[in-house]
Amino acid sequence: MKLPKVMLGSNPFHAVSYRGTQERKEYRRRFSTVESIHKVMERSAEVGIRGFHSYAKDMEIRAIIKLREKLGDSMTVVSILPDIYGAMSRQTGASPQDKNLAKIKMLFKNMPALMSAGVTGNLSPMVDSILKAEMGFIRETRPNFILLHGTLADVACVTEQKKLLLLFKERVVEAGAVPGLTTHNLGTTYKKLIEMDVHFPVIEAPFNPKGFMMQPSVQACLEVRKDASDVHFIGKKVLAGGSCDPRRGLLYAYREAGVQCTVIGIGSVNEADETFGIAKEVLGDEFSYEYDVKAT
């Protein structure tokens, strides 16, 4: 599978911002339709972006499908699974906003599986059923890479859930994609992966000049990056949640941290022009480079 050097992230599309409530509200207003998301994706594609991240959220998925119609196999889709509350609301019919109700309904719906897991200690059947449902939900986007959501990946690593991590890998490979994980604790989780002897060919983790979310320390993350030569790293939070300018963030990620790829969330067409324009300047010919990544 081809993993592009620079990719479009999706945080603004689901109103995630580290710049305060006003920006979150603005993103929510701005990205309230499939068309508005598609517009930013399309502009990013026009300036040469071929990698697109997507959470398993309905509007993002529909925008990606629309883009696929135009770009076909020349684009790479990186899906993050599962969107926990989205999965709950799909399973239970509760509104994604009503998290408490969705949680309660989810618990009732899965009570037999939970009770069986309580007796046997084996969560796999329940997780497998959720994974299968979520894979079905994103199937039409034809994902090339499927990454395990950071919160779940972190929990699975520190609690040493080797079986669940392997199950995730297996299901992703069966779906014809390359498995990976995202993490907010690279230094800690990577150590656990080594201890468990679990390998993921792709790991997405924060790398930025401010050290934002580089846990447990900047140094530890850089060491992992250096030592893990069999892993393709995608740098996220490259602009430190909007705290540093794109040139500085990109130079740090590619030149100092040495990640192969980056993913950047973009909030508007103009921002796509500006940020990816800078990426082109920083990377030169490398901008359109794609890594060939195998599933194992």
Binding site: Y18, V119, G211, Q215
Partner: protein
């Protein structure tokens, strides 16, 4: 010297699970067992965490060696479990609110003191980067002498009539205070000091036992003038709770929320210019061995481990927990009686 805190977590609801995950992620802890009266849940959690599970604290305490207990059970059991654990010589991190009743909270504090154990209450927002940085700014005197503090906590959690069972469930959990407001009140007390007097107006929009909208003016120690503005029946706060503290001193002001600190200083200081400036959470160095959720929970648990292992003070202490419980009572009393409450706090540490 002891290297790890051997810890048990009581209550395998959402918070208990989070606490257990963080304990697994931090090398200062060895998670020894989990406790929950719901057998299936306890067994499942025990197996997932690879530790023993028990249906009660008493069984865990008699069977297992642990130094510290996290109480993540519903509020009504905090007092009983907390008292028992400190009498057994366990260090305790108890979720907020401490007891939901100031007399009981004070008893818990006294008992912990008597048994010489570390007793911390889960006011984790103190460990969030922006609120922690604001405390440093205040202590370094950048605002001069503090004169005014305003707390605002808004949520959209109860914006329509609820079913009887849901209402009962919420009120047993201390209503809006238990949901988020106590965190804000703790921050306010942390910055402004003990409250001396207050005059509150309260409104029950949908709840029957506790208020949904609370406003008060108060006077704190050292003459700081304060305003409290709390409500969970506001509309439109759908993605993130609105919690902010505005502080004014003799040489500057700042508005602190989970995303950033907005400052205005009359004079230039080492890290801040004269006039307006803003510092975002993402710009403040903040490292932990295992980061889990944005609310400062990992740092809070690191601080508790530090207090236990290094024998330093646990903070926020159970006395701080008492102060918040007392402040809530005073707000409700004043709102109900339409009278000024003074003094608010009669018990010293």
């Amino acid at each position: 010297m002891q290297e790890k805190v051997r810890i048990a977590v009581a209550g395998m609801g959402e918070m208990g699970m989070v606490r257990a995950v963080i304990a697994k992620g931090l090398s200062q802890y060895e998670l020894v067992c989990v406790i929950d009266p719901r057998g299936t849940l306890a067994r499942l959690a025990g197996k997932q965490f690879g530790v023993n599970h028990f249906s009660s604290y008493a069984k865990a305490a008699s069977a297992k060696e642990f130094d510290a207990l996290v109480i993540s059970t519903p509020l009504e059991s905090h007092y009983e479990l907390g008292m028992q654990a400190v009498r057994d010589g366990k260090h305790v991190l108890c979720e907020k609110p401490l007891a939901g009743n100031s007399s009981r909270a004070m008893e818990m504090h006294r008992e912990a003191q008597k048994n010489d154990v570390k007793a911390q209450v889960g006011y984790n927002w103190r460990f969030h980067v922006t609120f922690k940085k604001a405390k440093e700014i205040l202590e370094n005197g950048l605002l001069g002498e503090l004169k005014y503090a305003r707390l605002m906590v808004y949520k959209s959690e109860v914006t329509k009539p609820e079913e009887k069972s849901e209402k009962k469930n919420r009120e047993e959990r201390f209503g809006f205070y238990g949901a988020l407001a106590v965190h804000g009140l703790d921050l306010l007390l942390w910055y402004a000091g003990k409250p001396n007097s207050l005059n509150a107006m309260t409104t029950r929009v949908f709840s029957s036992e506790l208020s949904d909208l609370i406003s008060a003016v108060c006077r704190f120690d050292k003459g700081v003038h304060g305003v409290i503005d709390l409500g969970w029946s506001h509309h439109g706060f759908i993605d993130k709770d609105e919690m902010s503290v505005y502080l004014t001193g003799t040489t500057g002001s700042m508005n602190v929320n989970p995303d950033c600190i907005e400052m205005y200083l009359e004079k230039e200081c080492p890290d801040f210019p004269c006039g307006d400036s803003i510092i975002y959470a993402s710009e403040i160095p903040c490292h932990t061995e295992f980061w889990f959720t944005h609310r400062g929970l990992s740092h809070e648990m690191e601080a508790f481990a530090h207090a236990v292992l290094q024998r330093t003070s646990a903070s926020p202490s159970w006395y701080d927990g008492y102060l918040v419980d007392r402040l809530v009572e005073a707000l409700e009393d004043s709102g109900r009686s339409k009278k000024i409450i003074s003094p608010v706090v009669e018990e010293s540490e």
